[in-house]
Symmetry: C2
């Protein structure tokens, strides 16, 4: 592992994603990525007592599936990095307690999947772990209750609002000679553009994504043309437009290479999700399904995955505070790319 | 860095604590450790609009002071690991946004200080960072509102209840030839003994501490006699008694070597705190004051610091769920100990 430029890490011992899995809800199944998910949860309770229990259960299912698909045994896994949007990250702590793995709870809001991949890469590249698992989840019903209104209110949503994805994703990371490799990473700084509208989180998060992406290009002396996809977490429609403008002003035109998990996961028009998807599960399910498939098959060769997170809470929103945001970047390379 | 036994990391490139600082409230100042804190916050609002803002402000103050005391410049710090008990860790994200450092949010409930120290040690030992900062905080008034009742209710507290510490602690970690070194660490597993009473978190957390401590002794082939202090996070009186029994059954008698931050920080009788202190700030302020002083001066030579965390939320408590818990262990060695 070596540091280059201001804040980019280059992994030299080829941490690769040995296994990955996604579990998604009914609405997500009905979207454009439906056929790529490993398992679909049609019942929002997933047979449990509460929405929160349901979220824990499908995060656990994503972890089980990722481990199974990796070919690694649980005994060979040294750490699990997980976190979620529920207060005090209980989706994770309740979800994965039965695995009996050393646990390091992560909180990056909707950027948690990226943070977990970086942690897993640092720990396995350095030898602190043989293999590490990362996981995250979100649940539309649990998130609405916690952040907005109980579903029963039937509140009207604003045009800039995003729809919390019901789903979970997990990856098993370890050193190997082949597989989709984590080549480099740039950890985000907390960015605050004084946006206070919790129904417009894309606008709040775009400056964080712009800052991290521009730093990575400068640190690595590369440009958008070097990557066949720059995939942000869940900026949605509004945030993606801001991102193009902010990066264009920095000299980087990413528009033709860019996509956003919040725009990929739903059909915005047909599924009435306004500005797109959001939640920890949004980029987790998108990444741990179609994106990883395409990297494995060489349809994508070298991508930048940039999950974004809005570091607010219901309390800070009620107190009319601004929304500090963050974005972490991971450079992933296909095994087909020699 | 090398792994020994089941889950213990030995740091081979001497990550040391280059600077540390603690900021504490009035009640903490009036306790037995009062004279060891770097700064005292007499106003629970710390001049801010809300208790939550106050917590952010004193976490920021602890970080500033720790950096100042370390002699390291902000430019030489590559990551900050921070987290807290407020929903969505906003104590940290609002508190440290102005430092403009790459941020990785941690959630370990009251074990967060330990988790941050482990992350800082792994990142600096491996070369992922030159220097890293970790920080955490808690605030009695903000925690009561979020987890229990608004202060205005004047609720009666149960005898097993603990008192959330108002305070913050921060450490700057980096490789160096001298200083208090982080020699080894054992990351905890989530342990659930089916305790459901959120007013008895010591009992919920004791099994997690017992599991981590016993694992460390077995991995390193050492015993309680090899350490002059085994300092748990905030088990308080009830949890400490459970810990002795659980470890005794495993063949380890730690009673004569043990102390607990929750018992050290307050005078339980005179200060009416029932079973002792708790909160992320409890072990953070205790560790980043008297304990670090004693390690620097050689009064303590080799200690095990074992912060514990109860991974519940107000929602899971209301839903009568059990309290999953965790404990991380860090072995710290005085520079006076050659």
């Amino acid at each position: 592992m070596k540091r280059i430029g201001n804040r980019t890490l280059i992994f030299e011992n080829t941490p690769v994603i040995k296994g990955y899995a996604s579990v998604a809800g009914k609405k997500e199944y009905e979207g454009p990525l439906g056929k790529f998910f490993d398992r679909i949860i049609f019942d929002p309770y997933n047979g449990m007592e509460t929405f929160e229990d349901a979220e824990s259960s499908f995060q656990a299912e994503a972890v089980s599936l990722a481990i199974e698909k990796s070919g690694v045994t649980t005994d060979e896994i040294d750490y699990i990095f997980a976190g979620d949007l529920l207060n005090q990250c209980t989706g994770s702590s309740f979800g994965i307690r039965d695995f009996q793995l050393p646990f390091l709870g992560q909180y990056g809001a909707c950027s948690t999947m990226g943070q977990g991949l970086i942690m897993s890469a640092v720990f396995t590249d350095s030898g602190a772990a043989r293999n590490a698992v990362c996981a995250t989840s979100s649940h539309f019903c649990a998130a609405e209750r916690q952040y907005r209104f109980p579903l029963e209110y039937g509140s009207v949503r604003t045009p800039t609002a995003q729809w919390t994805v019901t789903g979970a994703g997990s990856c098993v990371v370890g050193r190997a000679d082949s597989g989709v490799s984590i080549a480099a990473a740039t950890v985000g700084k907390i960015t605050d553009y004084q946006v206070t509208d919790p129904n417009n989180m894309g606008a709040a998060m775009a400056p964080a994504a712009a800052d991290t992406i521009a730093s990575f290009f400068r640190d690595t002396d590369t440009s958008p043309e070097n990557y066949d996809l720059i995939l942000t977490g869940d900026l949605g429609l509004v945030g993606s437009r801001s991102l193009y403008e902010l990066l264009f002003a920095e000299g980087f035109d990413i528009k033709s290479r860019h996509n956003d998990c919040g725009l990929m996961i739903f059909d915005r028009e047909a599924q009435d999700v306004h500005a797109g998807g959001s939640g920890c599960g949004c980029c987790a399910t998108t990444f741990c399904s179609k994106i990883m498939n395409d990297l494995e098959n060489g349809i994508l060769s070298n991508i930048l995955f940039v999950p974004t997170g809005a570091l607010l809470s219901a309390t800070t929103a009620e107190q009319k505070k601004t929304i500090p945001s963050i974005a972490h970047l991971i450079d992933l390379v296909s095994p087909m790319c020699s």
